[in-house]
């Protein structure tokens, strides 16, 4: 049903001294926080891990990220142009998708791969669904899932050993052939904790290395420290709530502790939290406004769901990591969770 909006002819407005006065509906004051400001703040909070990745995995991570961002922005602009919709690339949401997509693919993939992921993420996941605000799934994660399904070898093996000699241009142009490492979760899943310790050093050095980001993994997921800094800033600015990330981290850590070892209560919760992109997913993907619940209570349920599914996939599923699929599986439940956890009405519980 199309809406007819009648306009008041300008001649009927006398205004002041011939100048027309602006007329609009109340309220006449608006917060200075805008959609674009939130989005660009998120982009800024995502920048430190990118800088680090250049030094850990090499200069090509910057190129992959740039290609991913440009492809996302171009896909959005072109498809909106072709569909005759207003072009909204300035709001920064396509840039976030581009950065996040690059962050969840391995650092040794060929450069055309993020382009395909970007088209899937922006056009199929977002634009076709109705644009910003109407997508059901997190665009960047659909982009990743698509790439994992179509190029499983590259997406699960193009890992790189962290560079420790500042030779950041070493991996330029080397492509998939330079495969030389396995992620800690892969080693843990297939060879056990002893192999992890053998390959990555003592428990303490594992924790510190993983916390800083010195481990094989996707481009932007390795540094818990820098991701936490960005995530905490978003919480401080009240752009996101702590409920989603905290419930994800606690659930994943707790369930891994219980079920992740050879016997009950012998798993390593810290390793579970620090590896496999959990921090990136918890702070920057599961908190995506569009695809996660709006109420804090719903966000806790969403976070517990993501955490539980992550552990289930990691321990019983075919993939060593599980955050991406866990979030994608919880995304379509968001409308239902929002239905179950509605805001409490003012007079709810008032004495009648």
């Amino acid at each position: 049903m199309a809406k007819k909006i009648s306009t008041i002819p300008h001649e009927s407005c006398d205004g002041v001294d011939g100048h027309h006065l602006l007329v609009s509906v109340s309220p006449h004051l608006k917060t200075d926080i805008t959609t674009a400001r939130i989005m660009w703040t998120v982009v800024a909070c995502l920048m430190p891990p990118l800088v680090l990745s250049v030094f850990v995995f090499g200069f090509q991570t910057l190129i992959i990220t740039a290609v991913s961002v440009l492809s996302c922005v171009a896909t959005e602009a072109v498809s909106q142009k072709l569909l005759g919709r207003p072009i909204t690339v300035k709001d920064g949401s396509a840039v976030i998708t581009g950065v996040l997509l690059a962050y969840v693919i391995p650092p040794g993939v060929p450069l055309w791969m993020p382009v395909l992921g970007a088209v899937m993420a922006i056009f199929v996941t977002k634009i076709v669904m109705g644009g910003l605000g109407f997508n059901i799934f997190n665009p960047a994660l659909i982009g990743r899932a698509f790439l994992v399904a179509t190029y499983p070898v590259a997406m699960t093996t193009a890992w790189l050993e962290p560079i420790r000699d500042w030779a950041i241009f070493r991996n330029l142009g080397s492509g998939v052939d330079a495969v030389s490492a396995a992620t800690p979760l892969y080693v843990l899943k297939h060879y056990g904790m002893a192999a992890v310790l053998e390959q990555f050093g003592s428990r303490l050095s594992i924790y510190t290395d993983f916390f800083v980001g010195m481990m094989p993994g996707c481009i932007g997921e390795t540094s818990a420290l820098l991701l936490l800094l960005g995530g905490l800033y978003l919480i401080y600015k009240r752009y996101i709530n702590w409920h989603t990330p905290v419930s994800i981290l606690v659930t994943t850590g707790g369930l891994t502790w219980i079920f992740g070892g050879e016997r009950l209560f012998t798993g390593d919760p810290l390793l579970a939290v620090l590896s496999g992109g959990l921090i990136l997913g918890a702070f920057f993907m599961a908190t995506d406004y569009v695809t996660s619940p709006t109420q804090r209570s719903g966000q806790v349920v969403f976070g517990i769901g993501v955490g539980a599914l992550t552990v289930l996939i990691r321990l019983k599923g075919g993939y060593p990591e599980g955050v991406a699929y866990a979030i994608l599986l919880m995304n379509p439940l968001t409308p239902a969770i929002d239905q179950w956890f509605k805001p409490k009405k003012f007079s709810q519980g008032a004495v009648q």
Binding site: M1, A2, K3, I8, S12, C13, D14, G15, V16, D17, H19, H20, L21, L22, V23, S24, V25, S26, P27, H28, L29, K30, T31, D32, I33, T34, T35, R37, I38, T88, D91, S93, G131, L132, G133, F134, Y289, V290, T294, Q295, K342, P343, K344, K345, F346, S347, Q348, G349, A350, V351, Q352
Partner: protein, 487 residues
């Protein structure tokens, strides 16, 4: 200075920039008589009354009859005719039914008829026009002080009704009707609302600073009429001078030990001055949806209305003038002006030296709930707290974008409603299906949701459209059923 312990309501609310420093230190300044006033025949909450404009004797005002047919209901009987000389304070309009307020000539002058005037809320409405002349201002009445303790409760209420007092905070509910509490309703608290939570507006603030004794005496009158002894005045703590002067006035009035009156500082948070929120902030009690505040033992009255009630009872002075805040960076000289009801904004602008170059928007009322006007030929009503002249820098004219489901509006809504969902439904053409969101009784359109929305969505307007569509759907359904019955 020791920090004042401030009470507040727990759910929702927003913190817009206050901008009260433009006018909060400016003393109330009386404006001279305007050249004419336009008194809207309906400036209060009231049921529609009989469709007739009758005259004391002889023929009715012909223009009046015209408007009576154009605007069925909402009129009351006029007591004057064209060319009648009236004196400030003369009663010119009588209530048609039992709910309503009487109308007085706000200036001395000559009645020129009933005309259609621009109303900032309803578009156009009939208004009685009185022109002043150079001798008119000299005909101002002098009011005699009386001791209100000589009057019976019923007489006090009659004096309030006779002065045409309505709630000046914005609702315009007739004050005497509010005081007519049904037998069996148990009251214990009179809550005077001095929150003045709308940004920019400072009229109540100045009245509290300049007339604290009148407010305290007015409170005693109200307590006497209601038959209770406890009164609490809620004031946002961005008005420390008002809190101090009220406390001084209470201390000076101590000798009569019947009443207990106290001031409660409230946190600065919009909409602190909404009835539900201030009742919860001050007493902790929550009004059940769809019930009156008296059902939880409280009567809420605005502080300025209380001062006007004092004037009505003690001086016999009707509601012919009020303080309004003229502010914003688009007016040459901001002021707290004492103006006659019905004064046109254009004359106020002339008196204050005109508007500035970068005037962008004129808002009648507060910035959160006020109405933008396209023309300055708009008269002031009994319920106008101020007029804002906003410059381009003060106006956010960004186009709105899609809902990003951030949930900020859910956090901002003081009533726990879902403005985001209502907006999405209305945009999808399904406004008539939004009744289940339960906002019809509870949403008072405070604008907190639209203020907080980062996508700048006009959520209040979506809610108004939803109301309209629900109403239309209901009427359509009734008409269909009617048809089926007759068929």
């Amino acid at each position: 200075m020791m920090a004042i312990q401030a009470a507040t309501f727990p759910k929702g609310g927003v913190h817009p920039k206050e901008n009260k420093d433009l006018t909060n230190a400016l003393a109330i300044e009386p404006m001279p008589y305007p050249s004419k006033v336009s008194l809207f025949l309906k400036q209060h909450v009231g049921a529609p009354c009989e469709v007739s404009v009758t005259h004391r004797e002889g023929p009715s005002i012909d223009d009046g009859l015209l408007f009576a047919t154009e605007h069925p209901g909402a009129l009351f009987r006029l007591l004057v005719d064209k060319k009648d000389r009236v004196r400030e304070g003369d009663r010119v309009g009588e209530i048609g039914t039992n709910l309503g307020a009487v109308l007085h000539a706000s200036v001395s002058g000559t009645v020129t008829g009933v005309e259609s005037a621009l109303h900032y809320q309803v578009g156009k409405a009939p208004a009685l026009v009185i022109r002043t002349d150079p001798e008119a201002e000299a005909m101002r009445p002098v009011y005699q002080q009386t001791d209100w303790r000589d009057f019976s409760k019923e007489d006090l209420r009659k004096r309030i009704a006779a002065a045409g007092i309505v709630g000046l905070g914005g609702a315009g509910f007739p004050a005497d009707i509010k005081l007519n509490v049904k037998p069996g309703v148990k009251l214990d608290t009179l809550l005077l609302n001095g929150a003045e939570c709308e940004p920019y507006i400072t009229c109540d603030h100045r009245v509290m600073v300049e007339f604290p004794h009148e407010i305290i005496e007015g409170a005693k009158i109200l307590l006497t009429v209601l038959g209770i002894t406890y009164c609490v005045i809620g004031v946002e703590n961005n008005k420390p001078d008002a809190i101090a002067t009220l406390n001084d006035a209470i201390a000076q009035a101590k000798p009569d030990r019947v009443f207990k009156i106290e001031v409660k500082p409230l946190a600065v948070k919009y909409p602190q001055g909404s009835a539900d929120q201030i009742m919860q902030s001050v007493t902790g009690r929550v009004r059940p949806s769809g019930r009156r505040s008296s059902s939880i033992g409280i009567i809420v009255q605005n502080v300025y209305t209380t001062k006007k009630i004092y004037d009505a009872v003690v001086l016999g002075k009707p509601l012919v003038e009020r303080v309004i805040t003229i502010t914003g960076r688009g007016i040459a000289r901001p002021a707290n002006l004492l103006v006659k009801i019905g004064t046109h904004i254009s004359e106020i602008v002339d008196y204050l030296g005109g508007t500035t170059e970068d005037l962008c928007k004129v808002v009648v009322g507060g910035p959160m709930m006020g109405f933008a006007v396209s023309d300055l030929n708009v008269p002031i009503t009994k319920t106008t707290p101020g007029v804002l002249f906003l410059s381009h820098a003060e106006v956010d004219a960004q186009a709105h974008g899609p809902c990003i489901r951030c949930g900020f509006c859910l956090d901002a809504c003081p009533m726990g409603l879902e403005p985001n969902m209502i907006g999405l439904y209305v945009e999808a053409g399904k406004g008539a299906e939004t009744e289940d969101f339960g906002f019809l009784d509870d949403c008072f359109e405070c604008g907190s949701c639209a203020y907080a929305c980062p996508a700048k969505r006009p959520l209040v307007q979506f809610i108004r459209l939803a109301r309209l569509e629900i109403d239309q759907a209901r009427k359509l359904k009734e008409a269909r059923e009617q048809k089926r019955k007759t068929a």
